[in-house]
């Protein structure tokens, strides 16, 4: 199968926060597997797309879920008129043809599923397909990237120590206010004033992290709010429906957050 569908033609917008681009590029030049850590909606996926574009590689993304089996990653035999036919899974495809394989939210997958990536992430760089009795050596362009959102809610779903220690980790967090405002301006198409307001609101909700909220509003949420504003919704309703309502079902927290949002607005 051709990888062209997985190539990224136009530059995905990404605004670096620290030295993550250099780190990733250096890791890729040595084909080290990379782990992206950070809260949801802070730009991990976008970053990978940007890097794939920048490095000129195809990007195969797999969203992990708990029903995922090893053959969902590696591939399986399917029945065809002429008999059984092997179909490469997304991981095998990336390994064979030299793409960046991105396993999003890897902790969601069962721990025994994720061990298939072990031989790929050390000096061997091979993918054994035991069903097919084949060893697939990794294409020189192949690289593996995973994302991982730590937190105490993951106590049950955690990566195996043996999996964790194979990766170079890049920590993501929300960008500083000015950078984040610039991102919101660019992505949502609102003016700078609105963007800074939204960022101030986001900061308020992040203050509540661990004090009633699991997570504060992500950059993605702020962008959504900005898009609603750009579409003509007034900022109060926009923040209400894109931040306050989705983020919590707890009435008191909602009330407090609504108050804090109002405090940010003139």
């Amino acid at each position: 199968m051709n990888l062209d569908a997985y190539r990224i033609a136009d530059e995905p917008y990404y605004r670096p926060v620290g030295n993550e681009i250099e780190l990733f590029a250096a890791a890729y030049s040595d084909r080290l597997p990379v782990m992206l850590k950070g809260p949801t909606g802070c730009g991990k996926t976008r970053f990978v797309e940007h890097m794939a574009w920048k490095l000129g590689r195809a990007l195969i993304t797999v969203a992990c879920h708990e029903d995922m089996t090893a053959s969902d990653l590696a591939g399986r035999f399917l029945l065809a008129p002429e008999g059984t036919v092997w179909h490469d899974g997304p991981l095998t495809m990336a390994v064979r043809q030299g793409a960046i394989c991105y396993l999003d939210e890897i902790v969601e997958a069962r721990q025994d599923t994720t061990v298939v990536i072990h031989p790929l992430t050390d000096a061997r760089r091979i993918l054994p397909l035991d069903k097919k009795n084949e060893l697939v050596p990794a294409h020189p362009d192949f690289a593996l990237t995973i994302s991982y959102n730590p937190g105490y809610q993951s106590a049950v779903k955690d990566l195996k120590e043996s999996t964790k220690q194979r990766f170079v980790a890049i920590e993501f967090s929300y960008p500083d206010a000015a950078t984040e405002a610039a991102i919101v301006v660019r992505e949502a198409g609102v003016d700078e004033k609105t963007a800074s307001l939204l960022v101030a609101i986001g900061e308020r909700s992040r203050n509540l992290r661990g004090h009633g909220l699991e997570e504060g509003a992500s950059t993605r949420m702020l962008i959504h709010a900005g898009r609603l504003v750009a579409a003509g919704v007034d900022i109060r309703s926009a923040t209400q429906s894109s931040i306050v309502l989705p983020i919590t079902d707890d009435l008191e927290m909602r009330d407090a957050l609504t108050g804090a949002v109002a405090a940010c607005l003139p």
Partner: protein, 757 residues
Amino acid sequence: MLARAEEEPLKSLERYAAQRGLSPVLRQTIAVLAPRSTPAELDDWAEAGLALIAVNAGAEVMGTYWRMSAQSFSSQGTSEMSAAGYLLAKICRESGSKAAIAVTAQIPIAARAQGLITWLEALLSLAVQAPKSVVLAAENTPRILAGTAIASFGEFVAAGLRASGGQASRQAAFFSLEDPRAGQLLARSSGAITFSDVERASRAFATALWTPPQDVRAVPTGGDPPFRRTALSGPMTRVPEIYAGVPRETAPLLYRATLAHAGAHRRYGKGRFPIGQLKPLQIALVSLVEDARVETLAMRELPGLRHVWGQFHIARSAGAATAPSLMARLARALFDETFEDPDGWIQKGLRLFREAADRIHDPAISRDIGNRLGNDLGQMRIQFNAKDYVVEPIYRDNNLGLWDFGDWQSQQGESVEMEVDAAHVTEAEQTDGDQRNEPDPETEPTVRAHSVVAPQSDPIVATYPEWDRIASIERPDWTSVREITPVLGDPSLVDRQIDREGALRSRISRLVRASKLGRPSRLRRQNDGPELDAEAAIDAGISLRGGLLPDDRVFRRTEQVQRDLGVMVLIDVSRSTADRLPNSTVSVLDVERLALGLLADALSRLGDPFAMQAFTSSGRDDVRVTRMKGFGENYDPTVKARLAGLTPGLSTRLGAAIRHAGMELAPLRTHRKLLLVLTDGEPSDIDVPDPLDLVADARHAIKGLKLKGIDVFGVTLQGAGEDSGDAVFGRARHMPVSRVADLPRRLSDLYFRLARR
């Protein structure tokens, strides 16, 4: 009103005073009143005094009334004092001079509560219907006002009259507040929103604005002087439990405004001002300007705060030029640019503040402007009564936290004492924390005295190794665990406690229902099932063609997840769990018990096997474990009685307790085994000088359990000290709970989150 047209009322008053030796008091009072009153007002006030004389109020009442007129003048004005005099005269006529004395003595309290006339009118109606109860009602005024707003004082009196059905003895019982119905009525009639009603949302609001979160405590409003304004002391924000007289719908907004103001001080204030030679008036004014300064900065950051605070600035530009009124107007003028006040002094304050706009980040401007305004006010000969001064608007704090008093103690009297009080509280907590970390061997005997049970008869059931941190080896058989026969308490205690938590209980019920349903799971390679498992079928096909024996399990089906989880809850009942929560009679152990009760209730409905143990220790030979519920037992009244019978005492040897719990969990035949450890602080014991040793040992014990397939999860109640929970349990397996009161909810939430898979 008495008709004595032939003589001026003041003259008659002076003649009366001279006869009774009250001339100095009268002269002083007139000196206070005269400069701020019109001649007509003063005459009216004198007439009121004559009215009192006419009903034979007696010299004691007259003297007190005059003194109170002078004292409460700054907050009331002459006309109110006259009206009070006439009402007092009527009360005196109905129930005698003894009642009048008792009532007069409480005038300052009613005046400070801004409801002198309503209060007197209510007492008058009482005097008419139940003359003997007036003294009681007057004497208990401070207590009554602690529970109800002064505006509702009349309702309280009317309810009391109805409740006692005209019987003098019952009236006396009611108004002396001995009748429990009086207390209930106060609790209910106040109908006011207390801080605890809105605490969670208000705190969250304040935390959202600025981190770090404030340490907020509610303080009962009763007492003398009443606690009416927030106090900031050190890291603590103490708010009045009730804002008396504030309507229900306003109260939540007021608490928000209060905490936002306190937050603004914390964010934009810079250290405390030295008190120096400042007079109370200057202190008040410097504080007022500082309030305006921090609010201005806060509103630059968060413009919406203007709406949060603005609704409480209700000062009007008209009115008498008394110090409290001028200051409230200045506060409004500095806050609200659209507010216009022609007063020259306020104009000057506004001008100075605007001129300093480019130095607004510097608190020195507050000191400078406040000083200058204070001098002006002094030159205008406007009296300032520091004792009765209450900061306006209502959401602002008393500003004592802004000042470094050093050893300065006078003028401000009680207010300063309050400040000192707060310091004591902090100190006491700190010593508590210290004791927890390093148990003092000298206090040990007393601790023993109220410990769990006389232990020596209880058998040693197991010995465990302990990890030696320095040598990195295990010392074999180092600790001995005794199983203590549980003390039985009253099982209904647990039920009652749980019943009070209606909302939390229904929340947990929802979680139970959701978990019971479970989530569907796809089972592959089954012998039978409604669908073909394509992968298995292909494998079988391949095997057939390859000449191998095919696996005939080629179906798949979907089933509800089988919950297969056993949990042991291990709780710490060491001595520190006897600590009371701030501002309440509830101890940490009470909250732990409630949390455990709720969780046990949920678990028994879920059908998950669970056990509960409590632990404490007194040296390595005496680790005491109380089994409250084994895996085989039902959650029945006996278990509840054991739960109710828990008493705190001794130390926390965490590692040994964890190992012992592990022994019980290990043979359990469930897929997952979970040990939840609930503790309030550092592991410690009397024979271990360095708590780090026990931290290392506990971590080692947890590693051991993990090898046996037992997940250990820690919930720590964070006290004042450093928390070692992360070090013991690991960050991902540790949930710190900073507010003990949140524990029941957080513990249940945690369990359901952990049990999801």
